[in-house]
């Protein structure tokens, strides 16, 4: 069914490539769109699809699959695009990729819509008198060249990007440095920098690899690995094996607001926001009662967890007291276990301590070397991903405010949208004399820039990507064009970067005519690490055909590290602020992430798994809270923090802590194509300036808000009907785990 294609040959001879990646549906819109209307047989109206000199495997009417890499999130899943008549029709998972295993998530599927988006930026734009006007690449490049004529003095020149990896990361690193600090700022509004710093302190590496499928029990503190996690497809595949193991794995999820992962837990435990660390320490204390675990901790740590007895923990966290010994007992009975921590515990002023306390559970349970590892060695460490954080953007923001930044090149990130109002990032951006952005669609940040450059879509571009925390060997994912450029003016960021580098360091880069040439030579240079026996050209062709460069490599054990008991210290209980009684949870939606995917209509129309709401923002509150506030579903609420307020309709959901209100992230764009603009609200904007004490990362879940009811009530745009109960019909039946013997079921392959 699947025919693999390669673009290598054709790329070398430009004509060929045009011929089969280019659009040949000459009938245009009419031929594609005509449905059941036209019932007559026509002659001489449409044109026949016609080729000049196609590859032998190209047959009209037969799809050809090309391997590439999905760039919708950072997990670098291998994908395949079905190409027919020069059009990409659909994206599938690439079975040769150990990350995706032939599977693909909804976010990945929708990547094709970004490529075909009707609101793609088609020409370079230059701001004149406050308005962006079309310009030429020549003009743009001459403006850009000015910014890279680096001298030792003068204001900083910054390249601000989202998380990057692979050869783009190498080129970014190669950009000349001008001042004391690095000029490449990597910003991720949903960064896991807190977890990375805690991991470094406790396990000696920033990224640990948790093997869900090797665990008998997964205890997850707000880690949405199935939904908006770091690598949802890989995690979901592990999860499937975990559930289908000889002894079915058990998932316990502890979080203040139900995530998709929580919705799949055997036991979902609601917890007061920010008290996850306390519960973790309570569990540690409980486990230490058993002699198997008593010697796993140093005496000062044992002393540190002593105060967290059942009553105290239950009082602080709101978790029922009897549940704590039961969870501890299951942790033991279903070993090996794996304790995961996600975004919720990180997003507080004491986020690092929360995370450390949770990580301590893994230490007590001695999961290192069983379910917890460090990833295999990457042969080319310079390609390792730069994951980004918030702290460096905050520093940059301060410098921008002081007028210390002379120019900024922005790629792959939208800080004007995703930074809270208190940072005044958009205002500070205006103080930067020259800022340029590479975008596919005009987003909020691009609207604030002087020069906006049309970017090729990820499905038109070449590239290499490396995922963080790979659990199965080591792979470099190859991104290649699945289609000829839709908009001739669009260019690859790599090409622009290379052109700038050629001016700055001509001796190193002048031999590469374009980014493709650079990438090819770099990949071919890596041949000895993968397949030294084949010819260069063949290696390149094989690489493109497979879409991945794979090295089977064993995971490495985590080093033993001594750490101080101070790391797990939990704060004293905060006093409740009467003016702002609720905690705001800006929930990360699996399909929207930080708002990057809001311009894709499939995802806008894909119901949120738990609320089934589409095309909107909403405020999730617990029915008991609603009762207390006298709020019904659809009542418009004003959610007010000390920084500002947003309005959203109330959605009553049982899966949330009654002291919290959750508003999803991703909507509320002011500019980002027709599908994202003016849909919903952006909760980023009202976040309080609270930062993790250790790392300086923004505390995402620490903002306190007041909820005010308005007189308005609007119907929800949701898939759910008048009831969310099964009404006694056997729709989703549930069995207790001991009532069923999975071993008797027909085994099947889980990819």
């Amino acid at each position: 069914m699947i025919r693999f294609g390669m673009t290598a040959n054709s790329v070398a001879s430009g004509v060929n490539r045009r011929d089969f990646l280019n659009l040949v549906g000459l009938g245009g819109t009419a031929s594609v769109l005509a449905g059941c209307g036209n019932t007559s047989i026509e002659s001489g109206v449409e044109l026949v699809q016609s080729y000049v000199q196609p590859e032998t495997f190209v047959v009209p009417g037969v799809g050809v699959y090309y391997a590439s890499t999905c760039t919708q999130c950072g997990s670098a899943c291998g994908i395949m695009g079905k190409v027919r008549e020069g059009r990409i029709l659909k994206l599938e998972g690439n079975p040769q990729s150990a990350i995706s295993g032939g599977k693909i998530c909804g976010l990945g599927q929708a990547g094709i819509q970004g490529h075909y988006s009707p609101d793609r930026l088609k020409t370079p734009m230059l701001k004149e008198n406050g308005v962006l006007k079309a310009t030429t690449w020549e003009k743009a490049m001459s403006l850009l060249s000015g910014t890279v004529s680096f001298t030792a003095q003068g204001p900083r020149r910054v390249v601000l990007t989202g998380p990057t990896s692979g050869h783009l990361q190498i080129l970014l690193k190669a950009m000349p440095q001008s001042g004391a600090a690095t000029d490449h700022v990597v910003y991720d509004s949903l960064s896991t920098a807190v977890a990375a710093s805690v991991n470094l302190k406790m396990f000696g590496v920033e990224q640990t690899v948790g093997l869900i499928d090797k665990a008998g029990l997964v205890l997850s503190f707000g880690n949405d690995f199935l939904g908006a996690g770091d690598s949802p497809v890989a995690a979901a595949r592990q999860y499937a094996r975990f559930r289908k193991a000889e002894r079915r794995g058990i998932l316990i999820q502890i979080e203040p607001k139900m995530t998709l992962t929580g919705a799949n837990a055997d036991r979902w435990v609601v917890i007061a926001p920010g008290t996850e660390g306390v519960l973790a320490l309570g569990l540690v204390r409980e486990l230490l009662q058993r002699k198997e675990f008593a010697n796993n901790l140093s005496p000062n740590l044992i002393a540190a967890v002593e105060p967290y007895n059942q009553t105290e923990v239950s009082h602080i966290t709101g978790v029922r007291g009897d549940l704590i010994p039961r969870i501890a007992a299951t942790l033991w009975e279903h070993s090996p276990s794996l304790v995961l921590a996600g975004r919720y515990p990180q997003g507080h002023a004491h986020g690092s301590h929360n995370m450390a306390a949770i990580a301590l559970l893994n230490v007590v349970l001695q999961n290192q070397g069983k379910t917890l590892w460090r990833e295999a060695e990457l042969p080319f460490p310079q390609m390792a991903p730069a994951l980004g954080n918030f702290k460096s953007l905050r520093q940059l923001n301060t410098q921008m405010a002081a007028g210390d930044v002379g120019s900024m090149l922005i790629y792959g990130t939208n800080p004007v949208y995703s930074t809270p109002d208190f940072m005044r990032f958009a205002d500070n951006l205006q103080k930067v004399p020259f800022k340029a952005a590479w975008v596919t669609e005009l987003d909020e940040t691009a609207m604030h820039c002087d020069l906006v450059l049309p970017l090729m879509s990820p499905l038109e571009d070449f590239g290499t990507h490396v995922a963080a925390a790979q659990s199965d060997g080591m792979e470099i994912s190859i991104q290649q064009p699945l289609m000829e450029k839709l908009h001739p003016e669009a260019r690859s960021f790599g090409d622009s970067l290379l052109e700038l580098l050629k001016q700055a360091k001509p001796e190193s880069y002048k031999s590469f005519p374009d980014y493709y040439a650079y990438l090819k030579s770099a990949v071919v240079n890596a041949k000895p690490a993968f397949d030294p026996k084949v010819e260069d050209e063949e290696f390149w062709e094989n690489t493109l055909s497979a879409g991945v460069l794979r090295r089977p490599a064993a995971l490495l054990p985590l080093p033993a590290i001594e750490f101080s008991a101070d790391l797990v210290r939990q704060p004293l209980r905060e006093s409740r602020d009467a003016a702002y009684p609720f905690v705001l949870i800006p929930a990360v939606r699996p399909s929207m992430r930080d708002g990057k995917a809001a311009n894709l209509s499939w995802l806008q129309e894909s119901p949120d798994p738990l609320t089934t709401v589409v095309w909107d923002s909403w405020a999730e509150i617990h029915p008991s809270t609603a009762k207390q506030l006298q709020v019904n579903e659809g009542d418009v609420l004003v959610i007010k923090s000390a920084q500002g307020s947003i309005r959203a309709k109330a959605y009553l959901i049982p899966g949330i802590h009654p002291g919290s209100v959750a508003v999803p992230i991703g909507q509320g764009h002011e500019s980002y194509g027709r599908y994202a603009t003016n849909v919903g609200v952006n909760p980023f904007k009202i976040l309080d300036p609270i930062f993790d004490e250790e790392t300086g990362e923004l505390a995402l879940y620490a903002t306190r808000v007041a909820i005010m009811k308005t007189d308005q009530n609007e119907r929800f745009t949701k898939d759910e009907g008048a009831t969310n109960l099964q009404q006694g019909r056997k729709l989703v039946a549930t069995l207790a785990a001991d009532q069923v013997d999975l071993a008797k079921e027909t085994p099947f392959v889980i990819r």
């Binding site: 069914m1 659009l23 819109t29 594609v32 769109l33 005509a34 449905g35 059941c36 027919r84 008549e85 029709l89 659909k90 693909i104 909804g106 599927q109 929708a110 199935l226 949802p232 497809v233 595949r237 559930r243 289908k244 139900m258 919705a263 799949n264 837990a265 055997d266 036991r267 549940l323 039961r326 969870i327 839709l486 209509s601 806008q604 129309e605 119901p607 798994p609 089934t612 095309w615 049982p654 745009t717 898939d719 969310n724 109960l725 099964q726 056997k730 729709l731 989703v732 039946a733 549930t734 069995l735 207790a736 785990a737 001991d738 069923v740 999975l742 008797k744 027909t746 392959v749 889980i750």
Partner: protein, 303 residues
């Protein structure tokens, strides 16, 4: 068909309940197994369906008016009864991917005045867009409510250029006034069958899957040919003791006769097998004979 043919086949044209050995001599009977214990409700399948089948995005206003066009929807339930009992959903949410069940005795088929929906030889419930006149009787009579009507001329608005370039040429773009529904990706099946015929063989297990099954990250959706007893799906149906032509499965009758829990506890019925099989079909008792078997969700009660 010609008048002669119509008259000589008159008695075959009526929809009857499926026979036990209906697909004995037939090379194909497409069916599904959906494991609700693996399904995480992530919506990868629904998006794959949009991509594969040229489904229009209807936009906020029309979605609000209940005019969404998702052939495959993921339902989320908080409870089984008529009243919600728990303060917090301690066992998470219950997700159910619901699409056309390709009933063997489909309520929609008998009522369509023009035969736009009919039963194919390989056991699918077809929908022929160009034949449909839009009486919506099929949708009215569908117990699962999985049929979606083109209330507007979506080709006019759903794919502003160049989004229309994504449309699959193998799937008709539906215009105003016709009904549509999940087809089990019939375009893929047709292609696979054609290829197999050229190679003088039958379609093999795993050679063709629907877009949803292909995308599903947890492999919760299994698609295959139950006329081929060696296929995974046929084995799963068999292992779950689900009979295509039964409106009540033997195993369920057995369980009804099982002693009550109190008797088991007191040792009276201890000899009866306590373990249950997970396979069931939704609304089987309505005698629709669906082709989709769901496997019950499992929740551990240990914590």
């Amino acid at each position: 068909m010609s008048l002669d043919n119509l008259i000589s086949n008159w008695s075959k044209l009526r929809v009857r309940r499926p026979q036990v050995d209906q697909y004995k001599d037939s090379p194909y009977k497409w069916a599904m197994v959906i494991d609700l214990d693996s399904c995480t409700g992530c919506n990868a399948c629904t998006t794959a369906c949009y991509a594969e089948n040229n489904l229009p995005v209807v936009g906020k206003k029309r979605f609000l008016e209940g005019q969404a066009m998702h052939w495959l929807r993921i339902e989320r339930y908080w409870g089984e009864g008529e009243e919600s009992t728990q303060e917090f959903p301690e066992q998470g949410a219950a997700f159910l991917p619901m699409m056309c069940q390709q009933c063997e005795s489909a309520p929609c088929e008998i009522v369509c005045p023009v035969g736009a929906t009919h039963h194919t030889p390989d056991g699918l419930n077809s929908q022929v867009y160009n034949r449909c006149i839009g009486s919506r009787y099929c949708s009215a009579n569908c117990p699962y409510k999985v049929r979606y009507f083109n209330w507007y001329n979506y080709p006019e608005s759903a794919w502003p250029s160049p989004l229309e370039l994504q449309l699959s040429p193998d799937v008709t773009v539906r215009s105003k006034g016709v009904m549509e529904k999940c087809t089990f990706c019939v375009q893929r099946l047709t292609e696979a069958k054609s290829k197999a015929r050229t190679e003088k063989r039958n379609v093999q297990d795993g050679e063709v899957v629907t877009a949803c099954a292909q995308a599903c990250p947890t492999s919760a959706i299994h698609f295959g040919n139950i006329a081929d007893s060696s296929s995974t799906v046929a084995k799963m149906w068999k292992a779950q003791q689900v009979e295509l032509s039964a409106d009540k499965q033997k195993k369920d009758m057995k369980h009804e006769k099982m002693p009550a829990a109190s008797e088991v506890a007191s040792g009276v019925g201890a000899s009866v097998e306590a373990e249950k099989l997970r396979g069931y079909r939704v609304f089987e008792e309505l005698r629709t004979y669906p082709s989709v078997v769901y496997l019950e969700r499992i929740r551990s009660g240990e914590v």
